[in-house]
């Protein structure tokens, strides 16, 4: 038993660590690790991943919320969209063929790779649209000099629409869909990138939690796998967040993209060879 436990913990710690320093979250790496390395069925990997993503989101959110990076009201508005998508996605995960899940996973890896390559600077707006103003979504973020910069928010419905897709993918594939969430908030709603990342991370807890509750209630979570994976991914993510300020993430960007493309190729190949 000890050997299996050490292998699972090592996989989970590694996935959590890479997920934290790449900013993509542990789920993106733990699902393929469990499927490809530990030879687990896709649905078992998705269930275990959803549970562990809840833990990593909670762990990382503590500092982001305390330090004011998370826009709590934006999170609460958009969670309505992600929770809807996540419940539908987790339900569909029980009936959708594995081949479809693997192909979707490959597609999401390609989207994450694209997002990693095309990350851009902030485009802060000084005037929000009426809906965002009614919902009081504007916020303040410290600049490099420590001065508070006011930002406004726009296009809430369009951002929400993409959040439904993010929730759907989360429930179906066991990932936090962080890359999709950050794209919605950064590109469409014009939140500063760091606020988008912190808010996405905060929302992932509810998105993955909704999916995890469906899986748990359906009896589709393998306790023997999910328990060590949750502990390992959380430990790896905490270690990654401690190391993050001391490493040059920019220089690792190519490595992350290569890993994502390899996972996309492997999952795509598994799907196509299974048809």
């Amino acid at each position: 038993m000890l050997e299996i436990l050490i292998d699972l913990l090592a996989l989970a710690v590694g996935a959590g660590f890479i997920g934290a320093i790449s900013g993509l979250g542990g789920g993106v790496f733990i699902v393929p690790a469990l499927v490809i390395v530990a030879h687990m069925p896709m649905k078992v990997a998705v269930g275990a991943s959803l549970i562990s993503v809840v833990a990593t989101s909670a762990g990382a959110s503590v500092a982001f919320v305390r330090d004011g990076w998370t826009n709590l009201k934006v999170a609460m508005v958009l969670e309505c969209a992600t929770v809807t998508g996540a419940v539908v996605g987790a339900y569909l995960a029980g009936v959708v063929p594995t081949v479809v899940l693997e192909l979707l996973f490959a597609a999401m890896m390609l989207q994450s790779a694209y997002f990693t390559v095309t990350k851009r600077g902030d485009d802060i707006l000084t005037k929000g649209d009426p809906l965002a103003e009614h919902l009081e979504l504007a916020g303040e973020v410290p600049d490099l000099g420590g001065n508070l910069v006011h930002y406004e928010v726009v296009k809430v419905p369009q951002g929400g629409a993409l959040m439904v897709v993010a929730g759907l993918m989360s429930g179906l594939l066991g990932i936090g869909s962080g890359a999709l969430k950050v794209m919605a908030m950064d590109y469409i709603m014009h939140l500063p990138l760091k606020v988008s990342s912190a808010t996405s991370n905060f929302m992932i807890g509810v998105t993955a939690g909704a999916g995890a509750l469906v899986f748990l209630a359906r009896g589709d979570v393998a306790t023997t796998i999910a328990a060590p994976v949750a502990i390992g991914v959380t430990a790896g993510a905490l270690a990654g967040s401690r190391v993050l300020p001391h490493i040059k993430v920019e220089s690792l960007r190519t490595v992350f993209v290569v890993i994502l493309l390899l996972i996309a190729a492997e999952m795509g190949w598994r799907a196509l060879s299974g048809i």
């Binding site: 078992v44 503590v62 919320v65 929770v83 987790a90 509810v206 939690g209 999916g211 748990l216 959380t234």
Partner: protein, 129 residues
């Protein structure tokens, strides 16, 4: 209650809530793994191999689960640990819901009520699915 006070309460108490439940879940899961290693290592290996073949235990009734925890069943302790972990988002949204009711901010009462309902629907969908 002024908006700034509401924001301060959220920023102080949300991290405390998240951290407390996360630590509680990790303690239960860690204890469950130690109990499994001590009392049921063969059962663990058997379950691991069965899961690789796609054989899951399936739905477990809550009352039976607590009975098995009282009997010191390691698998039941691990399952409870996973349920505690899923309380993190539920508790956080419920906390915001109560705060917005106190503040009479009915737009956000409605939004957090929708998210809470979504999480509860998730349990129901899973139970019948």
């Amino acid at each position: 209650m002024p908006k700034q006070e509401e924001d301060r309460i959220l920023r102080v108490w949300t991290p405390i809530l998240l951290r407390s439940i996360l630590i509680a879940a990790m303690v239960v899961l860690g204890a469950g793994l130690v109990m499994t290693y001590t009392f049921a290592p063969d059962y663990y290996v058997e379950r691991y191999q069965a899961v690789q073949q796609g054989h899951l235990i399936g739905k477990e009734k809550f009352d039976l689960l607590f009975d098995r925890v009282r009997q010191g069943n390691p698998h039941a302790v691990l399952t409870i640990g996973l349920f505690v972990l899923t309380l993190v988002p539920l508790a956080r949204v419920a906390f915001c819901f109560i705060l917005f009711i106190r503040e009479r901010d009915y737009t956000y009462v409605a939004l957090t009520a929708y998210v809470l309902a979504g999480l509860i629907v998730g349990v129901l969908v899973g139970s019948v699915g």
